[in-house]
Symmetry: C2
Subunit: 270 residues, 2 copies
């Protein structure tokens, strides 16, 4: 398959969360067309096994490939943690996950005080962030913790107040005590809880969100491959979901920071 | 298809929660064999559309039918809320959901002070409990509320302490104020949070769990159809899941109240 510079960038996630990554992509690459797939019929990925998440990821990628994408962005941290090798082996286009860029951004920020990583059970159990950090700096001290209630809290819109604050204290108390100077928000939903997370870990801990770092990695890669869309291009943005689109367009607009006119439901059987 | 009394009872749920229904069935019907399917690769159902939950339910039922079941129990409240008509139309065996029996149990308990119903977004949005209550007693006053954080709290094992207590106050404060005398726990996970729920709504509100009522409905139905297993039968119990079985056997034992020796992973593509 030959990729052309005017082909779209494909992005998939288990649901709406990956729209924060898409948002960063649109900011950095305003001329690129995109195709987004949210696997809302099988969301969440963070509680499921690596085997099942890999199977779903390959099917999502196959769907996007059929739409002629020139590059695939895996916006979901869990899928990036467990399915990247399988996706890279199977796909004829470059694949960018959020883990490598997120780890790199954390290492650029830390002053040697240790890096914390929070994410879903699937992401933390996989050890992918831990490996990526240690591969880039063997001396880094890493502390990782799964925070399963953060996603449902963010989806429920409970991002301030006692419940998220006490939940954050339970999960993050050890980071505040043990002293890390940088904390990777290793799940696309967590930036919505930035306020309480920052309050619990204290103002000296830098919070790193992979979306921004991932968008920068995509820019570098497309430049290197000479696949950037021409500055004269008028971009188009298409959205697909596997469950009914109503809730996605409504909630998704909050994540994306702009309205989503419509999303098309596709019946992927897997 | 002809059902025989020695055939097993089929039970499906989106995951482990339905094991509380299976537990009640085993207590009431100690001679019956059972086949349980937990759709752990697609859990939860409570946040998904009726259309998608119905599609999954039909596939789950098809799998159980192939195992020669004589009756299907839909242990998941969300699936019972949205998929029962489709299941009844498609299946050659009787189908029992948890909504009708749960509503009946609530009406047997209320003293006319109003019935509250709590459940997932899918269950409450469907209006199934509300309709079942009003069909059985047109004068009943019903108040329903979705409590999306209760399932992740129960799965995280946070069933006592400040976070579940404050969450329950947020969701259930209106029940305490408006006065219902009976509250249906319309999700298989909620009995795990019985302590905090009872504390918030007060000791005068009776909590109704559908599992017990559903098991009684199955007894009555099998008796009526002359399909009860003979008292000489040695029952067998089989467990199937759609994601890897490790977490299911471990967490499931808590829900079932007895060890689950093994569960077999099946790859249902839908």
């Amino acid at each position: 398959m030959r990729q052309a510079s005017h082909s779209p960038i494909g992005v998939f996630d288990s649901g709406v969360g990956g729209l924060t990554v898409l948002k960063s992509l649109m900011e950095h690459l305003p001329h690129e067309s995109t195709v987004y797939l949210g696997d809302t019929a099988r969301v969440p990925y963070g509680t499921k096994s690596g085997e099942v998440v890999t199977r779903y990821s390959l099917k999502n990628a196959e769907f996007l490939l059929e739409r002629g994408i020139k590059l695939l962005v895996v916006a979901c941290n869990t899928a990036s943690s467990v399915a990247l090798p399988a996706l890279e082996a199977a796909l004829p286009v470059p694949v960018v996950g959020v883990i490598g860029p997120g780890a790199q951004a954390a290492l650029a920020r830390t002053q040697g005080g240790g890096v914390g990583v929070i994410g879903t059970q699937g992401t933390i159990r996989s050890g992918a962030y831990q490996r990526a950090l240690e591969a880039q700096d063997p001396r880094v001290r890493v502390k990782a913790r799964a925070c399963p209630l953060f996603v449902p809290l963010a989806e429920e819109g409970w991002t301030t107040g006692d419940v998220p604050m006490l939940t954050a204290r339970e999960y993050l108390g050890e980071f505040a005590r043990d002293g890390v100077d940088t904390l990777v928000l290793g799940c696309t939903h967590y930036p919505l809880l930035k306020g309480v997370i920052q309050e619990v870990v204290g103002p000296r801990v830098a919070l790193v969100d992979s979306a921004e770092a991932t968008a920068q990695a995509v820019v570098t890669l497309l430049e290197g491959l000479d696949l950037l869309a021409p500055a004269t291009s008028t971009p188009s943005h298409a959205y697909f979901v596997t469950d009914v689109p109503e809730r996605f367009t409504e909630v998704g607009a909050r994540f994306l920071g702009r309205p989503i006119a419509s999303a098309e439901q596709v019946d992927l059987k897997f």
